[in-house]
Amino acid sequence: MNRPRTASTQSVLRCLAFRLAPLVLAPGIGLAVAAPPGEVTGDRIDQASNLTWSPAAGADDYNVYRGDIAWLASRIGAECHGDEIAGTSFATPANPATGRGYFYLITAESTAAGEGTPGNDTNGTPRPLRGSCDSIMRHHYLDRLGYGWSEWTRDRIQTLGIQGYIDEQLDPATIDESTNTDLVTRRTTLVPPDTIQELQALDLVNAVYARRQLEQQVALFWDNHFNTDYPESADFFGFYNALFPDKQKYEGTKFHYDLQNSFRDLAFNGTFRQIVEASSLGPGMIVFLDTDSNVKSAPNENFARELMELHTMGVDGGYTQQDVVELARVFTGWNVCKKSDADAGDPLAACIPRNTYGTATEPPGQWVRNFRINQHDTGSKTLFAATPYQAIIPDTSSNPANGINDADLALDAIVAHPSTPRFIAKTLLQRFVDENPTQAMIDSVVAAWNNPANPRGTGDLREVLRAVLATGSFRSPDSVGHKIKTPFEHVASALRAVRGKTDGATVTRLYLTPLQEVFHVNPVPTGYSELGGDWLDTNNLLVRQNFGLDLGARTGTAFGNDVIGLLNANGISTAPSPNNAAAIVDFLSGAMFGAALTGAERQAAIDYLNTDDSGAASPYNDARIRETAGFLLGYPQFIEQ
C-alpha cells in the first residue's frame, strides 16, 4: 500500500503541488456491471502544472478535486476543481500562496452509473470530498442563473442537462408558467401592483416561484442598473394626495412597474440602445434624476452625469465635465405629463391640462414622456469633442420641433462610444461571473456585443447575456463560492430550498429592510452593489442567520417553510425512529448548497438534529427538523454563491 507522499520541510517553503500515489484497487472483482468506475490511478503533475492520469475502465469523464495540503492532517475534504473532464489531463496553472501546497484527487464518472470512488486513505476510510462535482456545479449554475435550487429546476436540469437548461432560460418565452400554480395564484393579487409594497412583493414572489429564473435575475439587474426611487415618483403625484391617495400610490408605483416590464422584455428581445432609451425617457427616470426640471434657461446636470457615469460609459469612460454640460442641454425640455390614451405615444402631443389633475373630472389617460419645444435648448451640442467619437448635434433653431431628436442622437453617440460595451460587459460579468472580470472576459463579451450576426444587431442583449454565461470562468468549478449572495438572493434562495411559502411582502418588511436591500426605494442613483465586500458585515450576517432561524420556525402561508413535505416527497423519512438524521441533513444540505460540507460541518448539523436545546441527545421531531434546516441556512456555504 502506498502512503501519500508528504513534502519535505524544504519544499514546504516553496510553492509546490505534490501528488498522491493512490491505492490501486483490483477492478471488477465482486462488482456489479452497472457500478461506478473504480479508483483513478497513475495521476501525476508536471512542472507546467498539467495533471494527467491513467484512464479508468467504464469512465465517460473525470472530476478533479483540489485541496490545501494543510487539510490532509484533519481529513478535511477536497473541493471540486475540474468538472466532467473528457480526457485524462487537466491543466491547473493556479499557484498556491507561498508556504502552501495543493493536493489533487481524481474520480472517474460513468453517465449510467455515476461517480466512482476517490479511493481510501492510509487508514482505509474513503478520502473525503466536499460534495461531488456534479451537485456542486449544478448548484453553482442554479445560484448564478437564478435564485438557487428548487425541485422543479432540479428536475428540469435532469431532463435538459446544464447546457439545455441554460439555453431554455435564455428564451423565457418558451418556458410555460401557466401550470405554475405557486406563481399564478400569488400573482393574481399582485399584478398590477397598486402600491410599491406590492411591486416589492411581486419581485420576491417572482424570484421564489418563477420557472423563468434567469428572466427575473436579469429584469432586476437592469432595474437596479437603471435605479429609480419610488418616493420621488410618489412626490410627483402629490396633487392626487388629498382626493385620491390610492391613485397617487398606484400611478407612482406604475412608473417603476412599467420600467421593469420594459427591461424584462428588452433584456431578451432588444438591444442596449433600446433599453437605455426606455430608461432615460421613462417617466420614472425623468422624475428621479430631475430631467423634468432641466430647462434651457437653467440646465440641471443630474441626469446627464448619471447617464454617462452609471448607465453607459462608467466613471472612467472618458467623458468630461463639458460633456455633462452638453448632454444636460440635450435633454432640456423633456418632462412627464398626462395624455389621452390616443396621444400617449406622441411626446409632442398636447397634455391634459394640469388643472384637471387630482379632480373628480380628470379625463382618462396615461402619464407619459412629454417634450416641451419651448423649454428645449435648440443650439448645437458637441459630445466627445476632439475625440474619434465626437458627435455634433445640429442646431434646431430653424425648426425647434426637431429638438426632440437630440436625445436620440446623443444616445446613439453614447452607445456607440467603445466605453459603453466595455462598461456594460464588466457590469454583467460582475453580476453573473466574477467580481474582477479579466480583460479577456470583457473582450469576449464586447465581441458578442459587436457581432454582425446578432439577430437584433449591435448590443443584442440576449446574445450579450449568452456570451457572459459562456465565459470559461462561469463554467469553472473555481468560480464556485466566489461571490456572496446579495440579501435579496439570500432570502429568495432560502425560501426556494425549503419549499418556502411567501406572500413577498412579509419577508420584504421583516428581513429585506434590515438587510438593507429593498428595491425601488434606493435614493442613490448607483443602485445596490453587486460586490460581496459591500454587503458582508456583522449586521448582514446576523440578519441572514436570524432570517434562516425564523424561516425554520414558521410554517404559515405568508412566511413559512414546508421542510417536512419537501423531505417526505423526496423519499426521506422524517419519522423519529429509526434515526434518519444523516439522510435528512444530506438532503437539506444538498438542496441548499450542493452538500459542499466537510465531515465536521456535516456532523455538526446531524448533532444539532439529534440533541435538544441543552445539547442532550434526544429524538428529533418535525419542529426540530425544521429548526435544523434554519440552522443549516446559517452556514457560510449558503451565504456564498
Partner: protein, 469 residues
C-alpha cells in the same frame, strides 16, 4: 497548536509586536486567529477617541458656512438659495453659520469647535461613488481601492490589539473607511442586534456556528472574511446587550429633553415643528446611530477591555440637485439634525447629561469630525438646487480641538475663491488628508508614519492647520 485555517492573520503590526522575522511561511500557519490576539497583549492604554459622521450626497459648504465677506456670495449667483446676514449666525465677522446649525454655537463658544472650509482634494471626479470612496480610502491616486484609512490607522497602530471592540460603525452597510482584511462591528439595526431566540436555544446554534465559522477552510475568497465577521459578531453580542441601548435616554440638564430623539416619546415638543415635534420621524435613525456610537465610547472604560476608540455613522440626503432650500428646506433640515446631534454628543460625552447611569466624561479625549464627498456648485442651477462640485466645509469638535474658523476669513478667502476652480466651484485650500492626519497624529497619538495611513502623504507637502492642541 490548532491551525486557524481560513484566517488571513497577516497583521504587520502583530508581527512587529511578536518580534519575529519570517520568510516564506504564511503567518496563518503559526498564529491563532484574531479572537485570541486579545490575550497576547498590546501597548499602553490609550483612550483617545474619534467619531466620524459622513454626510452623504455632497454637502453644499457655501450655505453651511457662508463666506459672507465674499462679494460673490450674492443673489445674482444664488437667487433663491442666498441666505442673508440677518438669517445666519456671525462667526468671525466674515463667515456666517447656517441658522439651522444654531445648536453648534454652544460648542463653538466653548472653544471646542473647528469650522474648516475649502476642504477637498485635487481633481475630484464629482462622482458620488468615487469621491466618497476617496474620502474613505485616503488615496486619491487609487479611487477604486476599498481599504480605509482608518482601517490602516487601526492596524498600523495596534488599536485592535488586546481589546474586544476597537471600532464600531452604526449604519446601513460597512463603510469603506474601516474596511480592510479584518472586519469590525457594524450595527445597522440597533434595536435588534442579537439572535432572535433566547437561551438555551440561542447558545446551541450560536456555539455550533461559532465552531463552524472558526474552523472554516476552503479556497473561496470570502472565507477569511466570513470567519472574522462571524466570530466578531458572536463575541460582541453579549457586550452589546449589556449596554441596553433601548433603555438609555440621556437628557439635556436644563430642558429635560432627550438628547437623542429616537421615537415620538423622546422627540422634544415644538409647536412649529412637524406634528408638534422638533424633528421629523425620518431623523430617528440618525439620532439612534449617534446614540449607539456615544454609548460605545461611554461603555468603553478601562475595566471593560472594549478599547473602543473609533465609532462612526452617516447621514444621507445631501445630494440637493433639486429644491435645496436656503435657511429652511431640505438641506436646512439635515443640518438641524447634525447640529442637535453634535451638541448632544458634547453634552453627553462631557458627563453633563441628566443620566442615572452617570458615565465618566470622555469629551476631553474625543474628536467628532464630519466628512462629505464634495461641495456643490457656487452658482444655483435651474431647479433651485446645486450640482456636484469640489471643496466643501467640515466640522471637528472635541475637548482637544483648537476651536475657531479656518480658511474662511479675509486672509484665506479672497474674492475669486468661490469660482476659483474651473470657474464653477470653491477652490480647495486644505487637503482632507492633512486634516485627518493631524487628528490621528496629534489627538489619537498615532505612532506610525503618515504614509502608511495616507499613501504618499510625506511627499505631498500638505499644509496642516494646527487643529489640535
Amino acid at each position: 497548536m490548532d491551525e486557524p485555517i481560513g484566517c488571513d492573520c497577516s497583521r504587520r503590526s502583530f508581527l512587529k509586536g511578536a518580534g519575529l522575522t519570517l520568510c516564506g511561511f504564511s503567518v496563518a500557519s503559526l498564529f491563532p486567529g484574531p479572537w485570541i490576539r486579545f490575550a497576547m497583549g498590546a501597548g499602553p492604554f490609550n483612550n483617545k477617541r474619534l467619531l466620524f459622521i459622513f454626510l452623504r450626497g455632497g454637502n453644499d459648504g457655501l450655505n453651511t458656512v457662508i463666506p459672507g465677506g465674499d462679494p460673490d456670495y450674492n443673489t445674482l449667483n444664488r437667487p433663491t438659495l442666498y441666505i442673508p446676514p440677518t438669517s445666519s449666525i456671525d462667526l468671525n465677522g466674515f463667515a456666517r453659520l447656517h441658522p439651522a446649525l444654531a445648536d453648534l454655537m454652544e460648542i463653538y463658544n466653548a472653544g471646542d469647535l473647528a469650522v474648516v472650509h475649502r476642504v477637498g482634494f485635487p481633481n475630484n471626479s464629482r462622482s458620488h461613488f468615487d469621491d466618497q470612496r476617496t474620502w474613505e480610502n485616503g488615496n486619491p491616486a487609487n479611487p477604486k481601492s476599498y481599504e480605509g484609512w482608518l482601517y490602516r490607522y487601526i492596524v498600523q497602530n495596534s488599536v485592535d490589539q488586546g481589546v474586544r471592540l476597537p471600532a464600531i460603525t452604526v449604519q446601513a452597510l460597512p463603510p469603506v473607511i474601516v474596511r480592510g482584511d479584518e472586519s469590525f462591528i457594524n450595527v445597522a439595526n440597533p434595536d435588534s442586534f442579537d439572535y432572535i431566540f433566547p437561551d438555551p436555544k440561542r447558545s446551541k446554534f450560536m456555539n455550533s456556528w461559532r465552531n463552524i465559522y472558526t474552523n472554516l477552510t476552503g479556497l473561496e475568497p470570502f472565507r477569511p472574511a466570513l470567519t472574522d465577521t462571524s466570530v466578531k459578531l458572536i463575541d460582541t453580542l453579549d457586550e452589546y446587550r449589556s449596554w441596553d441601548q433601548a433603555n438609555w435616554d440621556p437628557k439635556d440638564p436644563n430642558t429635560g429633553f432627550s438628547l437623542f430623539p429616537v421615537s415620538d416619546a423622546t422627540n422634544p415638543p415644538d409647536p412649529t415643528g412637524p406634528n408638534g415635534k422638533k424633528f421629523a420621524v425620518t431623523a430617528y435613525p440618525f439620532f439612534k446611530s449617534l446614540k449607539v456610537c456615544a454609548l460605545a465610547f461611554l461603555e468603553s472604560d478601562p475595566a471593560s477591555l472594549n478599547g473602543t476608540r473609533i465609532a462612526g455613522t452617516e447621514l444621507n440626503g445631501f445630494d440637493t440637485h433639486n429644491s435645496q432650500g436656503s435657511s429652511s428646506g431640505a438641506q436646512a433640515q439635515l443640518l438641524s439634525w447634525l447640529a442637535y446631534g453634535l451638541r448632544s454628543l458634547h453634552v453627553v460625552l462631557s458627563g453633563a447629561a441628566g443620566d442615572p447611569r452617570a458615565y465618566a466624561a470622555v469629551w476631553q479625549d474625543t474628536v467628532v469630525v464630519t466628512l462629505s464627498e464634495f461641495g456643490r456648485t457656487s452658482k444655483e442651477n435651474g431647479s433651485v438646487g446645486t450640482d456636484h462640485a469640489a471643496g466643501s466645509c467640515l466640522f471637528a469638535a472635541g475637548g482637544s480641538v483648537n476651536g475657531g474658523v479656518y480658511n474662511c476669513d479675509p486672509a484665506t478667502w479672497p474674492q475669486g475663491v468661490m469660482f476659483g476652480d474651473s470657474g464653477r466651484y470653491v477652490l480647495v485650500r486644505t487637503d482632507y488628508r492633512a486634516i485627518f492626519w493631524e487628528i490621528l497624529r496629534d489627538h489619537m497619538g498615532a505612532a506610525s508614519a503618515a504614509d502608511v495611513v495616507f499613501p504618499g502623504y510625506s511627499s505631498l507637502g500638505l499644509q496642516e492647520l494646527n487643529l489640535i492642541g
